[in-house]
């Protein structure tokens, strides 16, 4: 297993508050790596470390053997993309313009819109089913449509690695599955994905590499079938549960035990 994106002994802190200490994580190439864990355990913080949003106070994040934080910002942005948890769509921006912003790292003062840019944007909108929306205002879209547009922007960036922070939160179940299938397609086409997800069953179904975190540390990682056990879920979430095999996908299915079932 090769891992061109990997964190070595990193410590991530906000000011003096350490959230993650001496953590190492190798993201297998071409994997769909999904990070799970309870609220505030440091999943977003870890992703921010990978995304150059937070510089590790110790340790390094390597991308293709180079320190990610010392790469030129635009060069890094051609290799590694991010779908942030919250972004701002400027007032009055159309879908095509927003998706087009994803091409920024590929452009310069003289080449502000090349055929490659056009192709990448057209394909990203095609893959996310947003082509019909292209001249609509982003403000006027539904939550599900808007999330697809942001995904399209990240796809238009054409990076080998894509980081996703809770991409399906606030969407209904059908839109969640839609988006997860889209990511699965992207993964099949060769993009390495790292996603933070809350839904354990989606994580188990789609992940090729599952990482379970608690209190800023990695508790377990590997194939979801090995990682997701009743013991692990209880250890990570303090939640007693049963784990059965998902009759649809054959992956683990977590069934929480309520108070009554105990």
């Amino acid at each position: 297993m090769t891992a061109s994106l990997n964190a070595r002994d990193i410590t991530l802190a906000y000011g003096d508050t350490r959230i993650i200490s001496n953590l190492s994580l190798a993201v297998p190439d071409k994997s769909f790596t999904i990070i799970i864990g309870p609220n505030a355990c440091g999943k977003s913080t870890l992703l921010r470390g990978f995304a150059r949003l937070l510089r590790p106070s110790t340790g390094t994040v390597l991308l293709d053997g180079a320190d990610l934080h010392s790469l030129k910002p635009k060069e890094a942005a051609r290799k590694l993309g991010l779908l942030p948890q919250s972004s701002i769509a400027p007032d009055g921006i159309t879908v095509a313009d927003l998706v087009g912003r994803g091409r920024f790292p590929h452009q310069n003062a003289l080449r502000t819109w090349s055929r490659d840019d056009e192709r990448a944007v057209a394909e990203a909108m095609d893959a996310t089913g947003t082509t019909e929306l292209s001249s609509r205002l982003v403000d006027e879209l539904s939550g599900g449509q808007r999330q697809r547009v942001w995904v399209a922007m990240a796809l238009a960036q054409r990076t080998g690695h894509l980081l996703l922070d809770e991409p399906t939160t606030f969407l209904d179940i059908a839109h969640q599955i839609d988006l997860m299938e889209l990511f699965a397609d992207l993964h099949r086409e060769g993009t390495t994905l790292v996603a933070v997800l809350h839904d354990l069953n989606h994580a188990a179904r789609y992940a090729t590499h599952l990482v379970a975190m608690r209190d800023g540390a990695i508790v377990a990682q590997g194939d979801p079938r090995d990682v997701i056990t009743e013991q692990l879920v209880e250890a990570v979430y303090d939640l007693p549960c049963r784990v059965i095999t998902d009759p649809v996908s054959g992956t683990p299915l977590v069934l929480p035990l309520g108070r009554r079932a105990k």
Partner: protein
């Protein structure tokens, strides 16, 4: 590009329709080194603004004590063999004023576009958040207290005053992102404070000095000639070239620091550059003409509506809008017999009232 890469791309192209519908018409430039899309609407708006600037500029050169009609102005500008007296009046006395109006309008409007984009707020212009008043304070100090009256000293005073105010507002607002409403409120407060400090300096010096500063303080380009225009134009050219990259980076920064970083922008460095260039643009105008208010506030918004753009930051149309506003305001100012700053304040005040009402309605 290697042969096989090309073949891969062509197969990709055949499967996906490769024209993106932006909902507007573009002209495409696609050569080996330059490739870009230029919105047709922006080009038409810019062309119309250039016409307005030229016509209003020529018309404004007919105004004054010495009677010169429109045809004579045209003759003086375009025909070297026309009456030398008229040529002197038009080219040496009146032309610098029009050129100054263009320069001041363009610089202020660009500064406004930069700050409105940075703060993601149409109220976030240097007029409102205090940098203009800071620059004015710096110039007043230079003129009155240090008695340094040349353009370069005034420009330095304006720049230092503006930057200092920017730092003060930044620190008081205690905001990392510049996109908060708090920044604007603090800026208004700091403006008021610095404004009264400026007045206090003026009433505590001799009447003669105070009069000189007051003439400047009303925002006038009437008495300016080529010897003041040249240094201002050079500074403007330098600052403009330096700020050109912001035309591409600031709209990306409007999407938030996280998205901008992911797209390869350094938010901190971009904000610092924007702040310095924005203040410099205000300072170079303030040093020459005094405060000309509301252009920075209104021009980016007007331009954004005319071009139907999604950002107040669009160098060419924004600058042309500002230039047109000041040239027209200056012509009106001459007809009425007041400094141009008085005209822009009056018109701008109405605009600000409307803007506040519109923002309030949206929030409510």
């Amino acid at each position: 590009m290697s042969i096989d890469e090309r073949s891969v791309e062509s197969t990709v192209e055949s499967t996906v329709e490769s024209t993106v519908d932006f909902g507007r018409r573009h002209w495409r430039i696609d050569t080996a080194r330059v490739s870009t899309l230029i919105p047709v609407r922006s080009v038409l708006v810019c062309a119309a603004l250039v016409v307005v600037i030229i016509v209003a500029g020529l018309a404004s050169m007919t105004i004054g004590a010495y009677d010169v009609n429109f045809a004579a102005v045209l003759g003086a500008v375009f025909d070297p063999s026309s009456d030398p007296d008229v040529r002197q009046v038009v080219l040496e006395w009146r032309l610098p004023r029009v050129l100054f109006a263009v320069l001041c309008g363009a610089a202020l409007a660009l500064a406004g576009g930069i700050f409105q984009s940075l703060t993601r707020n149409p109220l976030g212009s240097p007029d409102i958040i205090g940098f203009g008043v800071g620059a004015q304070f710096g110039v007043t100090l230079m003129m009155i207290v240090f008695e340094l009256n040349t353009y370069m000293f005034k420009a330095i005073g304006a720049l230092v005053g503006g930057l200092f105010t920017a730092l003060l507002v930044y620190a008081l607002a205690n905001s990392k992102t510049m996109s908060s409403f708090r920044l604007i409120i603090v800026g208004i407060g700091v403006s008021a404070g610095l404004g009264s400090l400026t007045s206090w300096i003026l009433i505590s010096v001799s009447l003669e000095k105070a009069m000189m500063a007051a003439t400047w303080g009303a925002g006038s380009i009437a008495s300016l000639g080529f010897d003041q225009l040249l240094p201002a134009a050079i500074v403007f050219a330098v600052v403009l070239v330096g700020s050109l990259p912001l035309n591409r980076t600031l709209p990306v920064l409007e999407m938030g620091d996280d998205a901008a970083t992911a797209l390869g922008i350094s938010p901190g460095r971009t904000r610092l550059a924007a702040m310095v260039f924005g203040v410099a643009l205000v300072a170079l105008v303030t040093a020459a003409a005094g405060p000309i208010s509301f252009i920075a506030l209104a021009a980016p918004q007007i331009s954004q509506r005319l071009t139907r753009s999604n950002t107040p930051m669009g160098t060419a149309p924004v600058m042309l809008t500002g230039a047109a506003l000041v040239v027209v305001s200056d012509a009106v100012a001459q007809l009425v017999g007041v400094p141009v700053g008085v005209v822009t304040v009056s018109v701008g005040g109405l605009y600000l009232a409307w803007l506040l009402a519109a923002q309030y309605a949206r929030r409510a």
